[in-house]
């Protein structure tokens, strides 16, 4: 890999041991990719805390504290180095718990201490504590063409496809190194030619509400894996929530990091622009049978209709989704055998507090939580056996990670299940 003078100086240790380790990791990673060089970035999204399962234990067992955690898990460093301030704009993604609901989430006080220590560490090195999988919902909205280094597959696909900014799906180590150096390999979706569509998907049914977009994403991810689908035939322009659910689903069942919707997304004004004038590798059709198949796959783990947990907010809910849930919940009561947890960024919860939504949810017997989700934090109400969700992504991961049955359906079906304790959806 060719390095510029400033990159070589960092690699030689001119800016201290932490940035030396960071540059060493970026060079090993870039060479593994076959990248020719690095590119400057001023927008990094990553996780640096130690509140996730396993890291909690590592942190507790290691005397080096958060410097040791960052050295190992964010730099792949062979030794513990002191972590200096980040060089570029860096945002924290989701954490492993909501400190305001730690007890309810089955999290002990020692892990809350790790959370607080991580908070202090992030503040000291200059990582913005957005604590969400959806930084684009609370102000980190990169410009079209901006080079980013983001983790979180659902945010990566949104960043590339909806915003037209440029990022690969970075991991904890590469994003950590990018924070300290302002560099990331110039490879993949940073280059024009890799952003072009590969597969044309003709929609033969109306794709309207959020559940439709989740199902479409889940089917497409499995069909195209890590390639770039182009959607034609969209009859209803999707909003943020629908695009968020679509991308999250496509990056769970497959590895979609970029898609185009002709006439909607910024690099696909026309079909020709989306494919760069080339022919699609394949043309796929999405109709009623494909939608049904996606729904069957998502519900393949569920058989017991007695639901004891309803989880909303994967990816983290926007304020309009909280509003929708509140309209469905108003004047109702969560069933005594069921729990309702809704997850959102703390910045959005502040608006929900002001609007009275937090109180409405609490009065109904549910909880509005922040910072984490059930799959990332492995946090469930005690004794949960059967969950219901409106997120294809969560329905994909929750049974595998937590070993519980999971139903997938509309937000209204989920709220109904919370009220009755029974799944009445498809």
């Amino acid at each position: 890999m060719r390095l510029t003078a400033d990159e070589q100086a960092m690699l030689d240790g001119a800016e201290g041991p932490a940035r030396q380790r960071a540059m060493d990791l970026l060079v090993r990673y870039g060479e593994a990719l076959g990248a020719e060089r690095l590119v400057d970035t001023n927008n990094v999204c990553a996780t640096v805390g130690a509140t996730m399962p396993f890291l909690r234990d590592y942190c507790a067992a290691h005397s080096g504290g958060l410097d040791a955690v960052f050295s190992e898990f964010s730099l792949d460093s062979p030794d513990v180095v002191e972590i200096p301030k980040v060089k570029v704009y860096s945002c924290h993604l989701q954490q492993g718990l909501d400190p305001a609901h730690a007890d309810r989430q089955g999290i002990g006080p020692e892990v809350v201490k790790v959370y607080r220590a991580g908070e202090a560490f992030s503040g000291r090195i200059g990582v913005q504590l957005m604590n969400t999988c959806t930084p684009y919902q609370i102000g980190n909205i990169p410009a079209k063409g901006e080079h980013c280094a983001w983790m979180e597959s659902s945010a990566v696909v949104y960043c590339n496809s909806v915003l037209g900014a440029r990022t690969n799906a970075e991991g904890r180590e590469s994003a950590g190194a990018a924070m300290l150096t302002g560099k990331i390999p110039y490879w993949g979706y940073h280059l024009d030619e890799n952003r072009l569509g590969t597969h044309l998907v003709d929609l033969q049914i109306d794709v309207k509400d959020t559940v439709d977009w989740g199902l479409l994403g889940y089917w497409i991810g499995e069909a195209v894996q890590e390639q770039v689908p182009v959607l034609r035939g969209v009859t209803h322009v999707p909003n943020l929530a629908r695009l968020k659910h679509f991308g999250a689903a496509a990056s769970s069942s497959g590895g979609v990091e970029m898609y185009h919707i002709v006439g909607v997304t910024p690099e696909a004004a026309t079909l020709e622009e989306a494919f760069g004038g080339k022919r699609p590798k394949a043309v796929l059709k999405y109709g009623a049978a494909e939608r049904r198949l996606a729904l069957e796959r998502l519900n393949s783990t569920a058989s017991d209709r007695n639901v004891d947990y309803v989880m909303l907010g994967c990816p983290h809910y926007s304020i309009d989704q909280i509003w929708e849930a509140c309209q469905l919940l108003e004047g109702q009561r969560v069933h005594e055998n069921c729990n309702l947890w809704i997850f959102t960024p703390s910045a959005i919860k502040r608006i929900a507090d002001q609007n009275g939504y937090t109180k409405l949810i609490t009065d109904a017997g549910g909880f509005l939580m922040t910072d984490t989700c059930s799959a990332v934090g492995r946090v469930l109400p005690k004794g949960t056996k059967v969950a219901a969700v409106d997120s294809a992504k969560q329905a994909h991961y929750l049974p595998a990670i937590m070993g519980i049955q999971t139903w997938f359906g509309t937000t209204a079906e989920c709220i109904q299940a919370a009220i009755t304790g029974r799944w009445s959806g498809g």
């Binding site: 593994a32 590592y58 190992e72 690969n168 991991g171 890590e226």
Partner: protein
């Protein structure tokens, strides 16, 4: 003994050997494996319940969460990493995941390792020389 030799490109250097574990399904890291045991946990994966610990893992590539690398990173620290990784599709997830796993890794082969290698074959990987030697299991 019938041996097959594949040539490819080094992703992570080093040499190691082990029994092959082959899948045509892409692998999810976060939410797809239990890093403490190296077991595949994804609900509809053909290797569900099987562990890659100490095996030469042969697979098409990575999918899913950007937590891919951190899960394989944890697997290394937990002593549950594969002995080597051989794959076809280069992505950032797998490149970084291979780098932090510290096990020899290769891609860009002169013939498809998914065709040439079967679960149970004995595989020697010399990533620095770009060579994979396969001893078929029926002749063991």
């Amino acid at each position: 003994m019938r041996n097959i030799v594949l040539r490819g490109r080094k992703v992570v250097g080093g040499a190691s050997e082990g029994e092959a574990l082959v899948t045509r399904d892409r692998i999810s890291g976060w939410g797809g494996i239990d890093p403490r045991t190296g077991t595949i946990i994804e609900t509809r994966h053909e290797l569900r319940g099987k562990s890659f610990k100490g095996k030469v893992l042969v697979f098409p590539g990575a999918k899913g969460s950007s937590g891919w690398s951190s899960q394989f990173h944890i697997a290394r620290l937990a002593g549950a990493a594969p002995a080597a990784m051989l794959f076809n599709e280069m992505t950032t997830k797998i490149a970084l995941g291979a780098v932090v796993t510290h096990a020899p890794a290769m891609t860009d082969f002169d013939r498809d390792p998914l065709e040439a290698i079967e679960t149970g074959d004995w595989v020697r990987v010399d990533a620095d020389r770009g060579i994979v030697e396969v001893t078929k299991k029926e002749e063991e």
